[in-house]
Each structure stands twice: as structure tokens, then as C-alpha cells.
Symmetry: C2
Subunit: 193 residues, 2 copies
DNA sequence: CTTATAGTGAAATGATCGTTTCAAAAATAA
DNA sequence: TTATTTTTGAAACGATCATTTCACTATAAG
């Protein structure tokens, strides 16, 4: 039987995520990844195949961590208002704690690679579908509870919220004033009520 | 007296803009620029100094073209409603005509380089100030004309609109459905009335 | 304890990176 | 025409790129 993988795959992915997040895909070299993960070059290729493949795993890793945060917040919410506010609140915290102004790994990658790498494009399409589905769920519940209006369909509001989140995340790269961001969020959500 | 520059600087900048826009800064090589501009390597360094410096000129070039479009649209507007709708309309057209899904050069660069290059960071800060000032102007006029409400200050609405534009531009990378985008815009602007 | 299997380390692969060098060519002023 | 100035073209710079190679080592089943 073979010698078994000695490193912790999640720890390695976490380290790789940090590098890619800080420098972007094209700005990250294999040497950067070797240094960050403390893995040997050949071990990386052995375990992840290629730089692009490792990056795709990093994206999924990052996405699943976000997904867990979402699930946790949503489980704690009593109604649609709390749910949607919890989501935006989560992003505001991400922004404020992002001391390096790295922005969101997924959004950065979307703008860097969607038009260049088919695998990235399809990841982004799935990511968008997933996000919009989650937001549509919340809006639908809010409309059934008569908390949100029905001026637009849940799907339309979901796209609007998805777009607003991306805007918030981009704005937060340079503006990390909590009052500004909270006010911005309030303005975004006002149209729902 | 010296031999004079034979190439048209604006044409060269336009060609360089296309490459940087398509591939991003880190994804663009000097060879790409040599190929695209039909200039010799040494001529590029002679005229632009470095890759980063050329990119900064490209950014300004791109920004000034956008600025001219804005000025033109604003000059044709009779009131604040027309003005703000013209701005968003301009972005929707940009999105729909962006067949390569490249997104916005400035936004792409913001997410790729703001945390890595101080010169880019300061460009982005000025860009943000300029955009918000323009939007604040429109909102102020709209509020004076009693077309827009005063629930938020013009500055707060300007940040909201700036954020919404970035979101729209990011959303438009994958969603180029005109109905969706127009509806999204309508939802964004509704809060002003 | 052998043997099969796979992770590891270090070096090397050829290609490409951004930038520099320098002689030749071109253009104007004297 | 000659002197001066600057753009060119082509080659070369060392560094770094993503990836491969392969001998070596560690593991666990037989």
C-alpha cells in the first residue's frame, strides 16, 4: 500500500487561498505557492495537477466557507428581514476586516478570468445561480410574510440584490467607513419594503 | 533637430487599451503589447517608460473616453432624471456590446491591483472621487428640482449610485439580458423618487 | 522482511518575463 | 552637406515562468 498524504489538504488550501486572494491568479507564481504551503513543487503537482486546477479547488474552498457562513446566519434569522440584513451585515464585516483591501476572491477572479478561462466562466455561472437562488428564497419568504412588497418578482429582486452585493464589495475596497456602508445597505434594501 | 515620433500616440494607446482590457495587467506581456501596437520594444520603453507606466496612461485614456461620453450625455439631458438614466443607459450599452465579457477596465484593475500598486490605488481613489462628485451633482440638482426625495443626502445617494454602477458592471459580465439589466436599473433608481 | 506504491526533494526543462543595450537609420537645423 | 538628436531594429540580459523528471524515501499490505 502507498504512503499516505502527510499534509492536511484543507490547511494547504487555506494557505493557497491567502496567496491567490492577495495577488490574484496571474500575479501568483508557483514559487509563491510552494513558499506559502510548505509543500514541495512536485507534491503540489502530484496532489493538485496544475496551477489552474489548484486555483479551482481554492475557489470552491472559499465558496464553501462563505456558504457555511450564510447557512449559519440564515438559520439564526426569524424572518426575511433579518435574513437579508444578516447577509449584508456579513459582507460589511468582511469588508471592514479586509485590511489589505483584497476585495472578494470570487469577484476578483470573475473580472480577471471569466473571459479567458472556460472553467472559470462555468464556475462563475454556477456561483451566480447559487447566489441568486439563495436570495430569491429569502425574497419569496419575505413577500409571503408580506414584509417585502411585490412590485417586482422575487427573481428580479434577487438579481438586484446580487448586483448590489457585488457593488458593495467593490466599493468596500476603497471605502471602509462603516457608517457609509451601513447607510448604503439601508438604501439598497429600502426598495424591498 | 531630432527625428520626430512617427506613430500616433492615441492609436497606440487605443491598441494597448484593447490588450490590457482583454487580458488584464498581469495577463498582458510586453510581447503582447509589441504585437498589438506594431511598435518596437525599445520604442515602447522610449515613449512610455515601463509596462506599469504605459498601463497608467491606458487607464487615463480609457477614463477620458468615458468622461467624454458622460459629458455628452449630461449635456443632452433636460433634468436630473434624464441625466441619471442616461448614465445608466450608457453602461447598459457598454455591457451589451461587450461581446468578450471583458467587463470594465477600471473595475477589473481596481480588483486586480489596488492592493498591490500604490499608483493604481491613488488612481482609483481619484476615479472614485470624480465619479461620486459627478453623481452628487446630478442628485443635488434632482433634489432641488424636487424630482428626487431628500431621504438621504446627495452624497449618500451618490455613493449608493456609484456602488450600484459597479454592481451593474460586474453583473453584466455574465448576464447580458437587456430586460434584466433595464429592470435592475429601474429598481436601483426607484429609491430616489 | 520483502515488495509494491506513492509522496518527496532537488534539479533541470524550454519558454517567456520585463527591461537594457547599442549600433544603424532617419530627420531637422545649420 | 554636416552635425546633432532621437527613433528604431535586433539581439541579448538575467530572472522567473509553469511544468517535468527521477532518484530517494516513507509507508503499509503480504
Amino acid at each position: 500500500m502507498p504512503k499516505v498524504e502527510t499534509f492536511n489538504r484543507n490547511t494547504v488550501l487555506q494557505k493557497a487561498t491567502e496567496v491567490f486572494h492577495k495577488k490574484g491568479y496571474n500575479g501568483t507564481s508557483m514559487q509563491d505557492l510552494v513558499d506559502a504551503t510548505d509543500l514541495n513543487r512536485s507534491s503540489i503537482y502530484n496532489s493538485f495537477g496544475s496551477k489552474l486546477n489548484m486555483f479551482l479547488e481554492v475557489l470552491s474552498h472559499y465558496q464553501s466557507i462563505y456558504g457555511n457562513s450564510f447557512s449559519q446566519k440564515l438559520a439564526q434569522s426569524y424572518n426575511a428581514t433579518e435574513a437579508i440584513e444578516a447577509i449584508f451585515d456579513l459582507y460589511i464585516h468582511e469588508i471592514i476586516n479586509d485590511n489589505d483591501r483584497k476585495g472578494c476572491l470570487v469577484i476578483n477572479c470573475k473580472s480577471e478570468m471569466t473571459n479567458q478561462e472556460p472553467l472559470i466562466k462555468s464556475f462563475m455561472e454556477k456561483n451566480q445561480d447559487r447566489m441568486i437562488a439563495m436570495l430569491e428564497d429569502i425574497v419569496t419568504k419575505g413577500q409571503m410574510e408580506k414584509i417585502f412588497n411585490q412590485n417586482q418578482t422575487a427573481g428580479q429582486y434577487a438579481l438586484y440584490l446580487f448586483s448590489s452585493i457585488q457593488g458593495l464589495r467593490m466599493t468596500g475596497i476603497l471605502n471602509k467607513n462603516e457608517n457609509d456602508l451601513r447607510n448604503l445597505t439601508r438604501t439598497v434594501l429600502k426598495v424591498l419594503y
